[in-house]
Amino acid sequence: MLVIRPLQETDLDDLFRMAGSAGKGLTTLPADRGMLERKISHARDTFSQRCAPEAGLYLFALEDIALRRCVGISGIQARVGLDEVFYNYRLSVTVNASRELGVHVRTPTLHLTNDMTDTTEICSLLLADSHRGGGNGLLLSRCRFMFLDDFRKHFSDKVFAEMRGVSDGGGQSPLWDALGSKFFDMEFAEADRLSGLGNKSFIAELMPKYPIYLPMLPPSARAVIGLVHDNTVPALKMLQAEGFNFNGLVDIFDGGPVVEAFVHNIRTVRDGINRHVLVRHQPVNLQVPVEERVMVSNRSFRDFRVTTIPAQLIGPDTVSLPRNVADALGVESGDPVRLAPLKGSWPSPIHSVRDYHKLDYGPRDFSSRG
């Protein structure tokens, strides 16, 4: 059984191993023991409410109960840009037109902004190679939305994710080569690393401050603005299915897009339903296909736990949990839990058990209406 729980000190070795094998492109979790130790400590302080809510860093571990190992991590940063400065480019349009001459030109333009300041970011998703597939990535990512939903006052109304932009096999980024490299006297990887360390003075010092007119960049660089790295396409699709949309901002280094959603519009949040626990002692086959599984959370702030169970265990008012699942969640009969689909929306049999007034569909369902 795999369970989501707050990251803790004992996860350091597992985390270090995962970060090391993840390679470049995960600047928020560098393979640096001291840094990881500080992150864990920060997360512990966050869950135990020893740090200010806006400084919170919520890091969740995916634990393989059998192996007693942390095999994945995901995170929520309560607010970005309050300690350091958070930069993006806004992809805007400049129009120059002369009616007299019959000229009308639209010029895509990048404006340096700090507009995500004070907004909640979902970040730091990392899954051990050994545990890829089987919906584990979904669980790691979507468990965060269950947490956001239950503890909204700790977060902004809107949450966002920065998606990794395009770079080639050697780690070269076309946007960096055409733009960043002309202002920063360093390699893309180095800039990315420095930025990840959190002290962004060097950006304020070296970054071009005036808008960048895109026609002045080569086609290779223009082409990647707002595009994600091939490896990030599945993550982007998952977030899009959750209701995240490109918000017009891109990463200042590699041009990767920022996607955002209002918490109340996130599919996992909209699909969430509450039930009371009924601990059953009959054995249950937990190994059902991803489509038939649902996430169940214990709704605890300090010891937030989520695992997956077959959807068929959900009843009209209760959900039946086998003993071992109840133990993993730390719940007993009568305790409230919250449920949401693991993949996509609710499988159809669930409809019948949901409260009528909570039925809803996202925009996607309507596009087929004609």
Binding site: T94, N96, T107
Partner: protein, 338 residues
């Protein structure tokens, strides 16, 4: 004998013929359409005659006439106020230092700022000469006659002067700076933009020119190299102006990044060294060849003549040159060495 005098309506065809022998940049200040050119000559006539309506721009147009044949062989102009009441657009080339103390990095970041700082300064413009005369004294006469006019009408002009020098254009006609910058915003080729810039209203520049500063490092390498560089064909013009006391500063043309030369009016060689004398007849065609100018406003005439000065503050000039200047013995004339 060469004579520089104010352009007159009858010079229309002669000026048009000269304009057609020139490269495109000239057209910014010298229209090719007959109607516009006629209007420009008329406006110049009003400026010379001091008959401009309030608010009208004083734009002077001179012609170089071969008195022996009556043919017009060149044209040159002065706009008393660059921009003629509208903004005069340039790029100002400057640099910011982007430095990180912690990382030990320091970088000079060059920026082109849109600038109107030269607006209202006196502008030398519209210079065009029969190519056959490029190596002759007539070339210098046509250019410097303007300084002689300014010296004699100093209050009509500002304390600082500018002149735009044509920028780099390669043999296939491409203008690297335009192709890297202006073309993206104006959506037209260089010749078209250049032609429009001679229009009465420069509203289109305010409408189409990018309003934010431009980072030089993002221009094409060819455009970067062209910044502040004169076209090879303008070398003679530029050298003459540098000798006059003009210097290249940080201002560039917005279309081709050619240099804008600047000078303090009162420090110009012609203005400092020219002086007024009383005209008298020389018995022989001898002495130093000088610029010789006379006449106020529409009566302004400037020519080349052999001149010898006496100790009494008179100049002796062969009588045959008097006729072209329309002056007579005892008149005040202004002379300056070549």
């Amino acid at each position: 004998m060469w004579l520089v005098r104010p352009a007159q309506p009858g010079d229309l065809n002669g000026i048009r013929d000269i304009a057609e022998t020139q490269g495109p940049r000239l057209s910014s200040t010298l229209p090719r359409q007959e109607e516009n050119l006629a209007a420009k000559i008329r406006q110049s006539g009003q400026a010379f005659a001091g008959q401009l309506a309030a608010g009208d721009a004083a734009r002077f147009l001179f012609v170089l006439e071969d008195l022996d044949t009556g043919r017009i062989r060149g044209v040159s102009g002065i706009d008393a106020r660059a921009g003629n009441g509208q903004p005069f657009y340039n790029y100002r080339r400057d640099a910011l230092i982007h430095a990180s103390h912690e990382l030990g990095i320091s970088r000079r970041v060059e920026v082109l700022y849109p600038s109107h700082a030269l607006t209202d300064q006196t502008l030398l413009c519209a210079f065009a000469i029969d190519p056959a005369l490029k190596q002759t004294d007539a070339f210098e006469l046509l250019s410097r006659a303007r300084m002689m006019f300014i010296a004699g009408h100093r209050t009509m002009f500002s304390d600082r002067m500018v002149v735009e020098i044509q920028g780099v254009q390669n043999s296939s006609g491409a203008v690297p700076f335009w192709d890297s910058l202006g073309r993206h915003f104006f959506d037209m080729d260089f010749e078209t933009a250049d032609r429009y810039s001679g229009m009465l209203s420069r509203t289109f520049i305010a409408e189409l020119m990018p309003s934010n500063p431009i980072y030089v490092t993002l221009l094409s390498p060819a455009a970067q190299e062209a910044l502040g560089q004169p076209h090879t064909l303008t070398r003679a013009t530029m050298e003459l102006l540098l000798r006059e006391g003009f210097h290249a500063g940080c201002y560039l043309d917005i279309f081709d990044a050619g240099p804008v030369l600047q000078a303090r009016t009162d420090a110009l060689k012609t203005i400092v060294t020219s002086h007024c004398r009383e005209l008298h007849a020389a018995t022989a065609d001898q002495g130093e060849t000088c610029l010789l100018a006379t006449g106020d406003g529409a009566a302004f005439r400037c020519t080349l003549a052999s001149v010898s000065e006496t100790l009494k503050g008179e100049v002796l000039v062969p009588v045959k040159t008097w006729q072209g200047l329309e002056c007579s013995s005892g008149d005040r004339v202004r002379i300056a060495s070549l």
